[in-house]
Symmetry: C2
Subunit: 370 residues, 2 copies
């Protein structure tokens, strides 16, 4: 902010007090002790400082100190609740450690991401937290991160072997799929987000593992979806539901995607969970009040944020700190009401196809506080 009452600098203060800028600097940066500044001058400086409302210029300070006490955060979509919550945690922890956060939205676009990284580096952030788009060949700015303090979150990247913190996407999908299989489902499909993206592909892999282990079909025709938007999910769900043998269970590999599936089922007058069961990823406040409440795989967002920041601070402190850690956090399934148990209660007495919705299904079960 160039203009206005010309924000006072150390020089101004020094002049006013008849001391040198060095002295003012030493006091204001808490080095009074170390430099044995007399208590008298120290107080004079402190007083004048607070009186004049001086703020030491971090730009100049950073230039001189060669560190900015700031980190960069590049995520694909700030408005996606998962990333919004993650960003909040990261900012919160960063702040507590004295760091500021420069944020950028890569819009799930590799080029935008590359620009964002370049910009953050040019601003000399001390470190970078990145949820990489990661679908095509990794960009030049991205490769350059190998040598710097940078931690990935939510998504991995093979090429620059960077440390990362993610939740156990694969196991999550496996758990979700098993949950359905155990309840008698055999035709289980996936509504995916951005294919090629780590979290997405891992989840697909988990689903496939569980399906294959039970000898169930898990070909690519059972996976639909082109991105993490509600429209993409709507289209994907429609496609899956229009097939000849309609799936009895769907995995929605992201919270926004679940909304699309819900909407598509409603449009097609397909009742969840009566006609179709659904397990979604990422718990959200609203997941407990949809109709029906959603059975979901919950990611430990607070832990993700905390750990990624701690890892980054560690890398900043010692950039040569061993091989890239990969921290994989466990997820858990929260059972609510979107999965129907297809197993007959009294086997063979009631033909499945004629059975009415079982009122003991957990469709309206009270949910645990989020």
């Amino acid at each position: 902010m160039p203009q206005s009452p010309a924000s006072p600098s150390l020089k101004t203060l020094a002049a006013a007090l008849g001391v040198s800028v060095a002295t003012v600097s030493r006091v204001l940066s808490g080095q009074a002790e170390r430099y044995r500044i007399s208590v008298a001058t120290r107080n004079r400086v402190l007083e004048a400082a607070s009186a004049s409302g001086i703020v030491v210029d971090q730009l100049a300070r950073s230039l001189r100190l060669r560190r900015t006490l700031s980190i960069g955060l590049v995520i694909p979509d700030i408005s996606n609740p998962f990333f919004a919550q993650l960003a909040r945690q990261i900012e919160r922890h960063a702040r507590r450690h004295g760091y500021s956060v420069l944020i950028a939205d890569s819009e799930e676009d590799a080029e935008v991401e590359a620009q964002a990284i370049r910009l953050m580096l040019s601003r000399r952030v001390d470190g970078l937290i990145l949820a990489p788009v990661g679908t095509p060949a990794t960009s030049a700015p991205l490769r350059s991160l190998g040598a710097r303090p940078c931690v990935l979150v939510d998504r991995l990247l093979d090429d620059p072997p960077l440390p990362a913190v993610t939740s156990d996407h694969r196991r999550g999908a496996e758990i979700a799929t098993l949950h359905l299989i155990e309840r008698g489902h055999r035709r289980i499909a996936c509504v995916q987000g951005s294919p090629g993206t780590f979290a997405n592909d891992e989840r697909i892999a988990g689903w496939r593992t569980a399906m294959a282990a039970s000898g169930l079909p898990c070909g690519p025709e059972r996976v639909a979806g082109t991105g993490y938007s509600i429209d993409a999910a709507l289209a994907a769900a429609h496609a899956l539901l229009m097939r000849g043998e309609r799936p009895t269970g769907i995995l929605a590999l992201g919270n926004v995607l679940a909304l699309g599936v819900l909407q598509a089922a409603r449009d097609a007058r397909i009742s969840i969970p009566d006609d179709l069961s659904l397990v979604a990823f990422d718990d959200q406040l609203w997941a407990a009040v949809t109709s029906p409440p959603l059975t979901i795989i919950e990611q430990p967002i607070e832990a993700l944020g905390r750990e990624v920041l701690e890892l980054l601070l560690a890398r900043i402190a010692s950039p040569t700190g061993g091989p890239p850690t990969r921290n994989i956090l466990p997820v858990r399934l929260i059972e609510r009401g979107s999965v129907r148990d297809l197993r007959p209660k009294i086997p063979a007495l009631v033909p499945i196809s004629h059975r009415a919705a079982d009122p003991s299904d957990n469709a309206t079960r009270r949910v645990a506080a989020p």
Copy 2:
């Protein structure tokens, strides 16, 4: 990032090329023309620059230029979907104008907010966008903003008379209340967010206006709630629903609050919209798939983001640009299924108290695409 292959600077490049830093600077900042640099050297510099992957140090540049091409964004809760979406719009527009965004979460706490502002100023952001907590006496850093490029968003502040962009909270609440009154509701209560906060108090005022105009009771006992959390909303809704004369309609003054009301009604086995009607604020993707789909007041988030950024850029360009503008954007009501029409269809033939839920109610009406 201090260490690593010592990011090359202009000096390095200049030395390698046998030209002066000045020349490199002039070329790299696109001033080749103005300084009549020969095409030959210009190309040599450009080539060497892209080859070495140089990034000009914005810190030093900003120090010299006395502007950072960065803005600060301080909001009460990044993870609140409304603010997350707003942040996304602001970042997007800022990026397009060449600005970076420094973000901070004030946690709805005046002290944290004050610190965040101080920090951003010390980092010399060119301008500040702020959704002020604004409940208690305004802090010193906040007051100091009067003289700088700063625009408020979503919430107003009287004291430093700053330009602001908000949606028409008051009118929104009025519309919502009238919507209920027109459908025969007479006991209408509010579940509020943080009292003392501009948006909240304006909404209360709008409700009160509409109620008073119809001669309906609108005392403080009909307003409950202590903050924008789901737990607060849960408690508030419970309190309202336990009263002797239970309201037939509730206004939830925020999207998270609506979730609390929904949950509370479910807990108390009160059916929405049969036994209780609900109008909420802030449209969200999930609002169309709750049970029932929510009738809501939608805020023009994209426009809010765009306009606040444009206003800020204008203030940065000419800080003395006239009196503080107050831009109030219109909201609109989206009718879905959470409001019941209490007017008898054939007056006096069917006693209201015995009337079954009217199947023509819009409880399951298809919603417009969000």
